[in-house]
Every structure is written in structure tokens, then in C-alpha cells.
Symmetry: C2
Subunit: 363 residues, 2 copies
């Protein structure tokens, strides 16, 4: 059995983006949402046609976490699809709801695409929203192989990478790599609320990076955190304990605990995979001074392209008060010489660049 007909329940950002991706693959897509306006918008974007009860291969339930279980029960009662999956960012809760409501777990494949945007709603949808992102699938012991196959086919059609993991492991994982770090970033940023302007004037790129995600919508995050409360609490307690221990070590003057924490931080940071899925690799960082005017980045990346050098990462070092900045481009160490030569040829000032490093700004 292959994926020919799908039903998208909930035409928000995630549901409509999946619909657009499936349409591009020629899959028939039916759309359903309690908000008729949302369905109209999704249809206008070419995401599919309105659902009028057609039976499909797979139903993608893209509704808020608290109502996933009820939605699944209703759809199964109508025999809307041969298999069902959802997209909520926590998984233990919806599965428990489904069991409590007597749903048929053999056709339910709990899922979670790790993709999102700063905005929501069908108007923000993009067919490429999931491209290259992990998409967790958390089959229940009762889940049937055909249902899993259909869900994997949907994930692959969306250009995402299926990651099979148990619901408990999933929730613990996102608590560790997403939910708790968000709260930690909020706590660092919260300290800035009452900082004086002089202090904030000394802020550098490091602070901007640490606090960037703290700008996220508090209501959305309250919902996410409430559904994954215990795993997140566990991680936050470890972070809080480490920080409290570091603080008392600093007060006592015995910094061994602090050094140990810094060392564990280096090790932990090194475990984050790079974009090609391997362990984080060391790139050489080349810093170039930019005038803050149109075309500067174009000139620089042109030079890199002409030198056949692939830019692995790029970062603008914002500078307070002056209309200039430094762009840091990360490249494979073996490409460093070629790029530096090319940039100099095109008139950029490029300082001597020794071997690979992690590009950490210690300002």
C-alpha cells in the first residue's frame, strides 16, 4: 500500500505545509479544520480540496496537543483513514489520551516534525518547511507495520528525515535539546530586563546567541512546557543545581567545580551533530570586515563561489554604534587557504588564518 490520498486535520502552519509538500508529490490532499477560514486559506494556497468525508490512506492530525486524542477517536469512528499520525511536540500525553478514549492504537503512529517558524497559521505555510529536518515517529507497541510504512512515506515526501524513537525517549529528548534550553535562555534574558543601558551596550554576539530563542511566544511555550512538564523539570533542576554550585564555588573562591562545569560544557557542546548528521566538526573561521551597505555580502560570497569553496556557516558579528561589522565564514580547514587567497584577490582584508577552530568568540 502506498500513500495516494491524505487527510489533513488542522490547516495551520504544520498541516498546511505538509499538505503543500504532498501536493507537490502528486498526492491527493483533503483539508479539514474547525476554522472554515483556515481551510479556505489553505485551499487558496493550493494545499488541496475541502474534506467531505472521503476515505484516505493516511490522516495527519495537526491540531493542538490537548485535543489530539479526541480527534483521533472521532476520525477512527468515521473510518476516515487506514492510518493516523499527529504532529504535536510531546508524545506521551496524546498516546495516553488515545488509550483512555479507547482508540485503535494499531493504526496510530504518533509523530513530531522538528520544524517550525516564527509565525503560525496557513498563510505562513511552506512546502519546504520540513526539508532536512528530523521528524520523530513514536510507534506504540501495538502500532501496525502498514501504518508505520504510510507515516514514513509521508515524512519522506515532506523531505524530512524519519527518526524512530519511543514516546518516552522522545519527550525526554526534546526536554533536553529544546524545551529546557528555551527556559534557560529565558532565564538569562530575564536578567537583562532590569540591566542598565551601559551594561547592555557592552553586549556582544555571544549574548545574542544565548538569548535568541527567548524571544519566542510565551503562550505557545507555556503550552509546550505544560505537556512535557516532568522531563523539562528534571533537566532544569540539573541546570539550576550546576549554576547554584558554580555560584557558591565563586563565592568560596574554590573554582574547581566551575572549571569542571566549563569542561563538561565543552564536551556536551561537542556532542551536537553538525548539519550532515555526524559529530560536530571543526571548521576554520575566516573573519572579514564588512561595510554595512548593500552588496558587501554578495561580493564576499561571490569570491567564495568563484573559488569553489562551500561556506559551511556564516555569522555577522554585530557591532554597536558603528556602521561596520565583521562576517565570520566557516569553511573546511582544507578550503581555508583557497578562500583567503580568493578574498584577498578581490580586495578584502583577511588576516592570517591558522588551522581549524570552533569559531568561539571569547570577547
Amino acid at each position: 500500500m502506498t500513500l495516494e490520498k491524505t487527510l489533513i486535520v488542522g490547516t495551520g502552519l504544520i498541516g498546511t505545509s505538509a499538505a503543500l509538500a504532498l501536493r507537490e508529490k502528486g498526492v491527493a490532499v483533503y483539508l479539514s479544520d474547525v476554522d472554515a477560514h483556515a481551510v479556505r486559506t489553505a485551499r487558496a494556497l493550493g494545499a488541496g480540496q475541502e474534506w467531505t468525508g472521503q476515505s484516505v490512506d493516511l490522516a495527519l492530525i495537526a491540531v493542538p496537543p490537548p485535543i489530539v486524542g479526541q480527534q483521533l477517536a472521532d476520525l477512527q469512528k468515521r473510518e476516515a483513514a487506514r492510518a493516523y499520525t499527529d504532529v504535536t511536540s510531546v508524545k506521551v500525553g496524546p498516546i495516553a489520551d488515545a488509550e483512555r478514549l479507547g482508540c485503535d492504537l494499531t493504526s496510530y503512529v504518533p509523530g513530531h516534525p522538528l520544524a517550525g517558524r516564527e509565525r503560525s497559521g496557513p498563510a505562513a505555510a511552506r512546502a519546504d518547511l520540513f526539508l532536512g529536518r528530523p521528524w520523530a515517529l513514536c510507534p506504540h507497541p501495538e502500532t501496525g507495520a502498514d501504518a508505520v510504512r504510510l507515516a514514513r512515506e509521508l515524512v519522506s515526501m515532506c523531505g524530512a528525515e524519519a527518526v524512530t524513537v519511543s514516546a518516552g525517549e522522545h519527550d525526554a529528548a526534546v526536554a533536553l535539546v529544546s524545551h529546557a534550553p528555551h527556559v534557560a535562555a529565558s532565564a538569562v534574558a530575564a536578567c537583562l530586563k532590569d540591566g542598565d543601558d551601559v551594561a547592555l551596550g557592552l553586549a556582544g554576539q555571544g549574548l545574542r546567541d544565548v538569548t535568541r530563542i527567548a524571544a519566542g511566544d510565551p503562550r505557545l511555550w507555556r503550552t509546550i512546557l505544560s505537556r512535557n512538564a516532568l522531563p523539562v523539570a528534571g533537566v532544569l533542576e540539573r541546570i539550576a543545581a550546576d549554576l547554584a554550585a558554580a555560584a557558591s564555588a565563586l563565592r568560596s573562591g574554590d573554582l574547581d567545580d566551575v572549571t569542571d562545569l566549563l569542561r563538561r560544557g565543552v564536551d556536551g557542546h561537542g556532542r551536537i551533530p553538525d548539519k550532515h548528521g555526524g559529530p560536530a566538526r571543526e571548521y576554520t573561521v575566516i573573519q572579514v570586515v564588512l561595510q554595512d551597505r548593500p552588496g558587501e555580502l554578495a561580493r564576499l560570497f561571490n569570491a567564495a563561489g568563484l573559488a569553489d569553496v562551500n561556506i559551511e556557516d556564516v555569522r555577522l558579528e554585530h557591532s554597536a554604534g558603528l556602521p561596520v561589522g565583521v562576517v565570520e565564514v566557516s569553511v573546511r580547514p582544507e578550503d581555508t587557504g583557497r578562500l583567503a587567497k580568493a578574498l584577498r584577490f578581490h580586495g578584502w582584508h583577511v588576516p592570517p588564518v591558522p588551522g581549524g577552530n570552533s569559531g568561539v568568540d571569547q570577547a
Copy 2:
């Protein structure tokens, strides 16, 4: 009196970079370092000539924090300069040392350039290291106006922006915007040390940003933190308390404290100035899918340059497992339409982009 002759004591990254900047401005630069090899390297880079006791206008003391006071005392005994400044990242300690050692505080202008690199030593020096960066000056009540004038002249010749602040305010400020955030990032990253590979496979750009600075050299940071222990401890205690409170709120199920923390985080994040020194402004983020091959960024930034659109910020969304990524370019809201049109004209897929937003990834 103007800055014509300078002495750089300590020809590491900071000292040699300042020397290179001063040389470009035609200032006579003398170099001194306990490590003869470091002086040779700096001279080879064109940073100046070896110091043989010449008297100068200003001596820049770029040695490790613990020996700044002694260095100042020695130089003053030799009447090496009319004024003295240093570059250590904490300021109360060196001033106390200088007072204890009976230094002449009228000619001493404690300073701290907020600039750095992932590497150290004269070979990593760049004349533009300080370009556009804040450079704190912390004159003591006894410090003379001429000495401050000379120090400000040096800062301006380095292309940096002088920020006058008291030593105590400075140390509290860097604890808030740099030192404590570094420890917090280490604590988040430390939790990843024992995370399983599946969990880390779900990591996104948010986690990479929060933990990036945690890759910094633990020994360097131990020294920095030990010199600013109490201010850093104070901030860490606030962060630890907020995180512990959030954890217990999550366990109790009453999430009001969590929501409050998230809201304070949004407010605090909004206080970080943008690169032009004003309050953080909202840019519109345009996301474009990139093939991971040379020249893609060049094509994109070319299109932006041709459209006369200035890229305010750029970020590569790394994607695990697939050779594609999404580049997020931030532009002024009024430039959005022009850029989107230009990118589409050049063949990029650009989704509909409504008004300004902060580009926060809520995945």
C-alpha cells in the same frame, strides 16, 4: 597632547592587534613582552619595533589580569609613559592591586576592549579586531584628564567606541552580559554530555545558538570568572533561582511562574541593542532553501545586492542528514517586498512573507 608614541606591554592577541591598528594610523609603536618570541612575531607582522626604554605618550598594558598592577608599578618607576591603560576583562581587581602597590593613579586609565577571537597570540592579531566594538574606559576619581584623553585617542584609532563607566559598574555589566551567560550556556551544554545520540539527533538551531559559547577554553574562562567572582555569582544565583522555581512550577502543574519567566525573557531579550546601538529592532526574516554546494549563498546575496537591499543578519539553518539547508536573511520590513521579488526573479522559492518579526524558530 596627542598620541604619537606608544608602548605595548604584552604582545599577545590584544596587544599586537592594537599595535597593528596604531601603526596603520602612523603612530610609533614599541613592543615589549617577557616572551621574546612573541615580540619577534609581532615585529614580523609589522606591529612595531622592540622597546629599549624609550619614553612614550601612552603605554598599553596587555598582560594577564593578575600581573597588571605590578606591571603598572614597574613601568611608572621607569617613567616609561605619561599615561597608562590596560585591557583586562575585569577592572576592580587591577585597580585595587595598583592602589595597594602605591601606583600613581592620576596617569592610569583602566580599560577593557570588548573584542576577542577564538585564538590567542600575536599570530592571531588583526588591525581591525576592535572595529565597531565597545571599549570600556573606567577612569578612577584620581585619574587625570590628559591620561583619559590619550586613552580615548587610542580607542578611537583602533576603530572602537569608547564607553566610560566606573570599574564596579563595568564588572557588574560584563558579569551580566558576558560572564554569567557563558556559565549558563556551559550548564545547558553540560546536560548534553550524557544525552543519547537519538536525543542529540533532534537538536535544532536553537540549541546550537544557546550553547555556542560553551565551546570556549575552560582555563581562560576560569581565570576570567575568578577575577569577577562575586558579580558573576550574583547573576548566576538569580538564573539558578528562576530555573529552580520554573522546575517546581512544572512539577506542581501551576505554570504561572513559568509564564512570567518566559515573559521577562522576552522583555530582557528586547533590551539588547542592535548593531546600530539603538534598541533591538524587528526585522523581517525571509527563509530560502539552499542546496549545500558552492555558490548558492553568492547567488542569493547577489540578488539582494542587485535589489539594493541590505542584509541585516543572516543565519544558516543546519539540517541533520540532508545536503540542504535553509538560509534566513533578516532585512528591514520595508525592504521585504523588493527582496522577495528579486529572489523569485532569480529563481528562488520564497514563501509569502508578512510584516516584521523577530525570526525566532519555534521548532
